[in-house]
């Protein structure tokens, strides 16, 4: 390291005028003054200042801490007992193999679902009667849960062909307008015809 000429020190301290120095020393003084000006513009990088700035910063929010925890890598120690692991794997395999049982009634091989839908605005009650319930009123009441005049019923019936009608308000017998299949009932009217397909095909 080259020692700085004492006259340069004096010039920097203002004890002598830089003009009184030889040109080489004068340029050295100018460079050092420029460097000092540059250092004055650079922010303070001292450790103490940085620590103090960190302490005075407001505490991070919970979300921020959670986010930081989530994105920060963590070491995880997993201790496994082989016997328990095998049992757990067996249970998982069983769940995968055994099909999830459907809710609702269990249907026989020769049974199917019949859905009845009919629109009877203003009706107080609607029931389905047919060869499947000995034409007995009341055994299959239909429901109009949202009171929009559309009555519905879903029942499990033996697979096959059935004749049926709707009984409105306990007295009016009506064929199902949506049935699509009709046969004469031999009493001067028509019955709706329903073909129930087995649910297990």
């Amino acid at each position: 390291m080259n020692p700085i000429d004492p006259r340069v020190h004096q010039a920097l301290d203002g004890e002598i005028s830089p003009d009184s120095l030889p040109p080489e020393l004068r340029r050295q003084v100018e460079r050092l003054e420029g460097a000092a000006a540059l250092l004055a513009r650079v922010p303070e990088l001292g450790v103490e200042r940085r620590v103090m700035a960190s302490i005075s910063r407001p505490a991070p929010t919970r979300v921020r801490r959670l986010t930081r925890w989530l994105v920060t890598p963590h070491s995880l120690v997993l201790r496994v007992r082989p016997l328990w692991s095998v049992a757990l794997a067996a249970v998982a395999v069983l769940f995968a193999i055994i099909p999830v049982r459907e809710t609702g009634p269990r249907l026989g091989q020769e049974e199917g679902i019949a859905q009845f839908v009919a629109r009877f605005p203003g009706a107080q009650s609607v029931a389905v009667v047919g060869s499947f319930n000995d034409w007995a009123e009341g055994s299959i009441p239909m429901e109009d849960q949202d009171h929009d005049g559309v009555w519905r019923a879903s029942v499990v019936l033996p697979a096959g062909t059935h004749e049926y009608m709707f009984v409105v308000d306990g007295e009016r017998w009506v064929a199902d307008p949506l049935a699509g299949r009709y046969v004469e009932d031999d009493f001067g009217r028509e019955n709706s015809l329903l073909i129930v397909r087995p649910a297990h095909r």
């Binding site: 459907e102 809710t103 609702g104 009634p105 020769e110 679902i113 859905q115 009667v129 060869s131 499947f132 319930n133 000995d134 034409w135 007995a136 009123e137 009341g138 055994s139 299959i140 879903s154 029942v155 499990v156 019936l157 033996p158 697979a159 096959g160 062909t161 059935h162 004749e163 017998w173 699509g180 299949r181 009709y182 046969v183 004469e184 009932d185 031999d186 009493f187 009217r189 019955n191 015809l193 073909i195 397909r197 087995p198 095909r201």
Partner: protein, 239 residues
């Protein structure tokens, strides 16, 4: 008690047991018919209806359909006289159906479900020639669905012979049961899309046997489904 007396006593007991366990032919069905009609059909008509149904049973006709018809009449508050007439009419229809099946090659006694299938087909407007064509071509219990499928098409004004040809073509492709109803449903769908009857038949024939299935009830409706309180006691019907 000596040995001979013990033997006699044992034999009598055995005979009594065997006699008691032996079924009484026809007496039980007759009783059950009356029991089913009582309170549901005008009391004065019950003996006549009972007699008609027993006679039909002796001919090998499916009696449950007749009992159902009588109960239906009672539920609809029809007079006893009209119920008797309806039962007589149904017996006549069953006899004709039985005769048609025998003439088509079935060996008597034909099954009740077969007879019922033919009766429904005839009631739905299928002529006897078409029914005979179907019954002759399908020599097993898959006829019920086939007859309904043809009747569905005829109800939508498809020519009976073309409808029968389509359904028999589906049977030859291995389709049966409810899948035959899918065939008629598909043809009706094509009709509703604006195609002519002949176009609809041709299109579905081209798709065989990969005709789309009819939409099935959603699972939510299955959860709500329940069995009727009074189930039918009869023999299984078609298809």
């Amino acid at each position: 008690m000596n040995r001979r007396a013990r033997t006699r006593c044992g034999a009598a007991l055995l005979l009594g047991l065997v006699t008691g366990l032996m079924p009484v032919p026809r007496a039980l069905p007759a009783q059950s018919v009356r029991a089913r009609l009582e309170g549901r059909v005008p009391a004065t008509s019950i003996p006549v209806i009972d007699s008609l149904i027993r006679e039909a049973g002796r001919e090998g006709l499916p009696t449950d359909l007749l009992v159902q018809k009588a109960i239906e009449g009672g539920a609809k508050h029809v007079s006893g006289e009209r119920i008797v007439k309806a039962v007589e009419l149904n017996i006549d229809q069953l006899r004709r159906a039985q005769a048609l099946l025998v003439s088509a090659g079935d060996t008597p006694p034909v099954t009740p479900s077969e007879v019922a299938a033919v009766v429904w087909a005839r009631k739905r407007g299928l002529d006897s020639m078409t029914v005979t064509q179907i019954v002759s071509a399908i020599p097993d219990e898959r006829r019920g669905a086939a007859l309904h499928a043809v009747a569905d098409l005829v109800a939508h004004h498809f020519p009976a012979d073309s409808a029968a040809d389509l359904i028999l073509a589906a049977v030859r492709q291995g389709m049966h049961g409810g899948r035959l109803l899918d065939v008629s449903y598909a043809a009706v769908q094509e009709l509703q899309r604006g195609h002519s009857h002949s176009e609809a038949l041709a299109m579905v024939q081209h798709q065989l046997p990969n005709v789309p299935a009819q939409p099935t009830p959603p699972k939510s409706s299955l959860e709500r489904a329940r069995r009727p309180l009074a189930a039918s006691h009869g023999e299984p019907a078609t298809p």
